[in-house]
Amino acid sequence: MTKEQNAIIEVKGLAKSFDKTIALDGISFSIQSGELFGFLGPNGAGKTTTINILTGLVRPDAGIFQIGGIDCTKNVQSAQHLIGVVPDESNLYPELTGFNNLCFCGALYGLTKQERQNKARKLLDTFGLSEAASRKFGGYSKGMKRKLTIAAGIIHSPRILFLDEPTTGLDVASARQVRQLIADLHKAGTTIFLTTHYIEEAERLCERIAFIVSGRIVKIDSVEHLLEPFQRKQAMQIACIKDTSFIQPKLSETFPDMSFIFSKNNMIRVEADKPVFAGAIVRFLEEQGIDVSEARRIRPSLEDVFVQVTGIESDALRKEKEKSGMGGKS
């Protein structure tokens, strides 16, 4: 079977503008059945707009798309029974309890009373919300709201799940729990479309990733393939005590087969095609009167790929990630 035949989502030339803002500028991709597909991009890149179009909340200006073999360009409704959506904002009913919210969402997809109550109880348990089941959603904390919103998106066991930044606003433990749940759903065969601006999250979870910037997909490939050119590279990070940029010409002269990238916080990133040894560089720096506080090898990460492909410094993305528990070393 060819890949095309197995695609559960097929998008061609999707474009959307809001007044003068171009949100999507002709994107195309396909997602295989059972795949965990990541959409990675900075704020305003067009991630949410893509989800909104695919789920039927926004109408595209141009392009066509199919979901589960059904042409949905004009009307998504005939495929909506296949889809579960976890929106970027927690939008359940504040006046209903956690349990009733889940039951209501199950009913929207035609689950019988027995089915939805059983599933709701199970999900509340999975997310550690059983105690809060009879409390009103309006009184939940931000993280609890997020978890219940995720539960509401999967109560009808959809074949395709759209997750719009599912871990944003969660504490470390909850974010980990959600990522585990995503991995479990994936293992169980659910096709997952995940948007995120946490690079590590995408790298850890997704099989294939599209980088989206300003409404355009700038790169799309499997994580393995994306990392490949970087895997051959050797990299090291050296932390210095004071500003070091003045040393750049000398460093490059002394170590011609290495490249040096200086960042604002007195870090030097060393890259080479063969193994880099810290000793020689550290010794050289100290001879020049620069104290080194740390030198360590770094594994190539998707962040490197992202920076290279998009030309966007990952700082903007990094700022957010500490909050979501993505800051830890993996």
């Binding site: 809001f18 789920t55 039927g56 909340l57 926004v58 109408r59 409704q77 909506q80 029974h81 889809i83 959506v85 929106p87 904002e89 939008n91 359940l92 009913y93 504040p94 006046e95 209903l96 209501f104 969402c105 009913a107 929207l108 997809y109 035609g110 689950l111 019988t112 509401a152």
Partner: protein
């Protein structure tokens, strides 16, 4: 079957969340009672004139019961984005909006029977043609609900919905022939009257309660049904064009 489960639960949720809330219930009961008392004090008439006032009371109870609540249930949920959940559900927009409005229709119909029951206790209603009154009440509730829907989908904010619905409601009360016959209105205002659904509803109410009418019953019912269909269709088109951007 599946669409029915969704329909029923949307209706049930709205009933619990909005209509069966104590302020709403007491408002629904209190409002018609206050109107009745006010009319008697103003007119200084006896109980035997109650049937004369009844069409107006019934119509007002429906109008206020349906339009104000709906602008909240729809506009409010749209603003809080929970309405997106309903749009994502695998049911047609027609079923969805019928579910969203059936609560208001039911609420309006029940509201209408409050003054009727009060009148029953106070005076003799044996001349009333129930076979006309009951379906008329329901039809007026439907048209008034769809008018509320039309208003709700034409605005962005809850307060706008309220202002806009008053803009419709108050002139309508005076132009629809409930309190003065349309024929007594200045000639240039009459076309406006005939563009209001309540004009036809009021005429049916007059027919069923006081056996006085201006237009044939069948015409009234047909036109009122036509208004319902038009308002619903137009509202749905508005939702499709404006909410699914």
């Amino acid at each position: 079957m599946k669409a029915w489960i969704a329909f029923w639960n949307i209706l049930l949720k709205d009933m619990r969340s909005y209509y069966l809330k104590p302020p709403n219930i007491s408002w629904g009961l209190l409002f018609p009672l206050v109107w009745i008392t006010m009319f008697f004090i103003r007119s200084g008439l006896g109980m035997e004139s109650l049937p004369k006032l009844l069409p107006g009371l019934v119509a007002l109870s429906i109008l206020f019961g349906t339009t104000s609540v709906l602008s909240v249930t729809v506009t409010f949920e749209k603003k809080g984005r929970s309405f997106e959940r309903l749009l994502l559900a695998p049911i047609s927009l027609e079923v969805l909006m019928l579910a969203k409005t059936s609560g208001a229709i039911l609420f309006g119909t029940i509201n209408a029977f409050v003054p009727i029951f009060v009148a029953m206790l106070l005076t003799d209603l044996s001349a009333v043609n129930w076979a006309i009154l009951v379906p008329a009440t329901i039809l007026i509730a439907i048209s008034s609900t769809f008018l509320g829907l039309f208003i709700a989908v034409s605005v962005k904010e809850v307060f706008e919905a309220q202002t806009f619905s008053n803009f419709f409601r108050f002139p309508m009360i005076f132009l629809c022939g409930l309190f003065f016959p349309v024929k007594q209105l200045p000639i240039w205002l009459r076309p406006v009257s005939y563009m209001l659904p309540l004009t036809y509803g009021a005429d049916i109410l007059h027919t069923s309660i006081n056996q006085t009418s201006h237009m044939p019953l069948l015409l009234n019912f047909s036109l009122l049904t036509l208004f319902c269909a038009a308002l619903f269709t137009f509202s749905l088109r508005n939702i499709r064009n404006k909410w699914i951007i």
